[in-house]
Symmetry: C2
Subunit: 223 residues, 2 copies
Amino acid sequence: MKKQFAVIGLGRFGGSIVKELNDQGMEVLAIDRNEEKVNEFASVATHAVMADTTDENTLRSLGIRNFDHVIVAIGDNIQSSILTTLMLVELKVAHITVKAQNDYHEKVLNKLGAHKVVHPERDMGIRIAHNIVSKNVLDYLELSDEYSIVELIAGRRVHNYSLTELDLRAKYGCNIMAIKREENIDVSPAAEEKINSGDILIVIGADSDITRMEQDLFDDDTE
Amino acid sequence: MKKQFAVIGLGRFGGSIVKELNDQGMEVLAIDRNEEKVNEFASVATHAVMADTTDENTLRSLGIRNFDHVIVAIGDNIQSSILTTLMLVELKVAHITVKAQNDYHEKVLNKLGAHKVVHPERDMGIRIAHNIVSKNVLDYLELSDEYSIVELIAGRRVHNYSLTELDLRAKYGCNIMAIKREENIDVSPAAEEKINSGDILIVIGADSDITRMEQDLFDDDTE
Ligand SMILES: Nc1ncnc2c1ncn2[C@@H]1O[C@H](COP(=O)(O)OP(=O)(O)OP(=O)(O)O)[C@@H](O)[C@H]1O
Ligand SMILES: Nc1ncnc2c1ncn2[C@@H]1O[C@H](COP(=O)(O)OP(=O)(O)OP(=O)(O)O)[C@@H](O)[C@H]1O
Ligand SMILES: [Ca+2]
Ligand SMILES: [Ca+2]
Ligand SMILES: [Ca+2]
Ligand SMILES: [Ca+2]
């Protein structure tokens, strides 16, 4: 049977979760006490209902205990977030993920029995900081403390060279796994493929090797 | 010379950027018009100053044009965010990254000349949605709307099969780019390599193909 998700609070964070779950073909119930929000998500979610989730009877009548995973994405109203979480725990919902505003809020949520507490603004701050330290790294996936996959923007130093000519594997121990050019992604680029300035290279390797390669080949000194 | 960063707005998002840049050994100026925030970051940032950044003279006297990258992390006060961005563009700051609250805000920021616009709550919502849909996906990197790289935990259904035997490329159009086993990462796994339950497979492919493969081979039905 398909997993059943419910998202409480349709702000930017909760709303984005609803959209992405829907994109992935999941069943998702969207809940907010604000009618405008509910209308906004009526066509995105499987169902959208107006309800105040701090009320236990309301939660019961929604059959919330039958959902596989409930996400509490209430932000500024910490009291609502805490009360809602308490009810969900008491109703024995299988998986409860809650957005926290700060460390104190997180502590309370953990004590109440939330299964996972997330800090979207904080975590995204860390990701953005990583991305801005180097202008050439667009995004990354940390595989371990030592290895990563990074998206690197090709500049003029690699322009018009083929993968064979660059020979990044021998020189830096790095492999190019895919090349993104405008809207297309080539997930098994040929050895004779020429790189264009502006291409985005998906590279796997050790962090120190990637940094070395980046400094040698991707740090444009014209800026 | 070390790159100079400045972060305007010390909420959760901006504050987290300041902390992470500092962790990475970068020089960072932290700015907020709220004195409490400035005091909170006095010991984290290289410098922390109280200033209203919608005032051009204030920005000039901070020497903001000499910074390599300025991040505007003002949230709810969209007018402050827009005015600050306008000033930074006029002062010709080399890189300006701005947090947007919604699509309309983003459009204005782009028109004004912001170099990058970010949506932390929305982007983290997408990440969280990915993580909760499948317990088998540990982390992922979205290459485009259609393609991703995911970290998948191998279960008993793939245990003791070699990459050749599974033939994921023919069956699902997915490539295994690396295998993580305990602390080791093999970035060019051999075709005859046998997978163990508990291994983490780094897979590249189309989202729909990855989902299909995951349902067939990674969704343990014992739960
Ligand atoms: N008790 C409640 N029951 C149902 N919905 C609630 C309750 N309390 C708050 N909400 C809803 O939660 C949503 C998110 O709340 P918040 O105040 O954090 O908005 P936001 O700042 O736009 O969120 P975000 O930071 O994710 O953008 C709002 O749409 C609000 O109506
Ligand atoms: N004109 C301005 N000059 C300097 N700082 C400003 C200005 N306007 C707002 N700020 C500061 O920006 C910070 C972030 O603003 P916001 O209202 O988004 O807080 P927040 O919701 O806590 O942020 P976050 O969503 O990142 O947690 C606040 O600390 C605020 O004092
Ligand atoms: Ca909020
Ligand atoms: Ca690392
Ligand atoms: Ca905010
Ligand atoms: Ca997607």
